[in-house]
Symmetry: C2
DNA sequence: TTGTCATATGAGCAATTATTCATACGACTA
DNA sequence: TAGTCGTATGAATAATTGCTCATATGACAA
């Protein structure tokens, strides 16, 4: 037990001051960790995960995805919007049909790391 | 444009039947993708992300984390519970103090893949 | 035992969010 | 031009969730 200090609105007492200070010094900018959480939040929904998985197999249009996942076109379209804003998917238009595909290979890598943990 | 079929509660028409069928055949069990989404959901909160980052630097007790992040002990404790259920952190008791640390190295890997995407 | 400190937890509230419904947009076709 | 098909989107709703507050538990000290 080392020094103790009261801080801000925390209801705690610092127990290991040097540890807290050492970690605090290395802490990345608040914003970076926030962005990281936002990215994972996009992966944190089973509908979006299934869409991403499907697109990792093949480029697909909105209707096909809706049929594949047995969901409405509207629901899929809303989620594709979220995925596109996160730059996880891109799209191209061919007449009336819009085809979606993964934006890059990071997505697959993140998937794979996740699966490693699941199957530990 | 190939065959078309109406299916279940979907308001869509299959446009590219062979694509849908090919992807459907390769589709992992519903449950696996659900579990994957659940895992990412745990990463999808900035408080938990910051806790995980802190623990990737050093083992820490609940109070220290609360002070570091300027949050209440209760809030941190609740989140540590979530992280533990997801098997992302483990803990050991030393008298009154409980120390938390990362459960394995998968966590860091998942982090790093996420950062790659952020900094693309 | 009694008191204190570190942590855990249940209930309640506020904020977020995934889906539905209705409708608008945009491109092709008759 | 009018109609149809694929897609996008705003509003509303139901469900989820992170935090707070109050309190409980568990370990040590006096």
């Amino acid at each position: 037990m080392e020094n103790r200090d009261e801080l801000d609105r925390c209801d705690c007492t610092v127990i290991h001051k040097h540890v807290v200070n050492a970690v605090k010094r290395k802490m990345p900018p608040e914003e970076d960790l926030y962005d990281l959480a936002e990215l994972f939040k996009v992966f944190g929904d089973s509908t979006r995960i299934r869409i991403l998985w499907a697109l990792s197999e093949s480029e697909m249009c909105v209707c096909d995805i809706a049929v594949l996942l047995n969901m409405t076109q509207s629901a899929i379209s809303h989620q594709l919007r979220v995925l596109k804003q996160a730059k996880l998917v891109k799209n191209r238009r061919d007449g009336k049909v819009v085809f979606y595909s993964l934006d890059d290979d990071h997505v697959k890598h993140i998937f794979e790391e996740g699966l490693v943990h699941i199957n530990e």
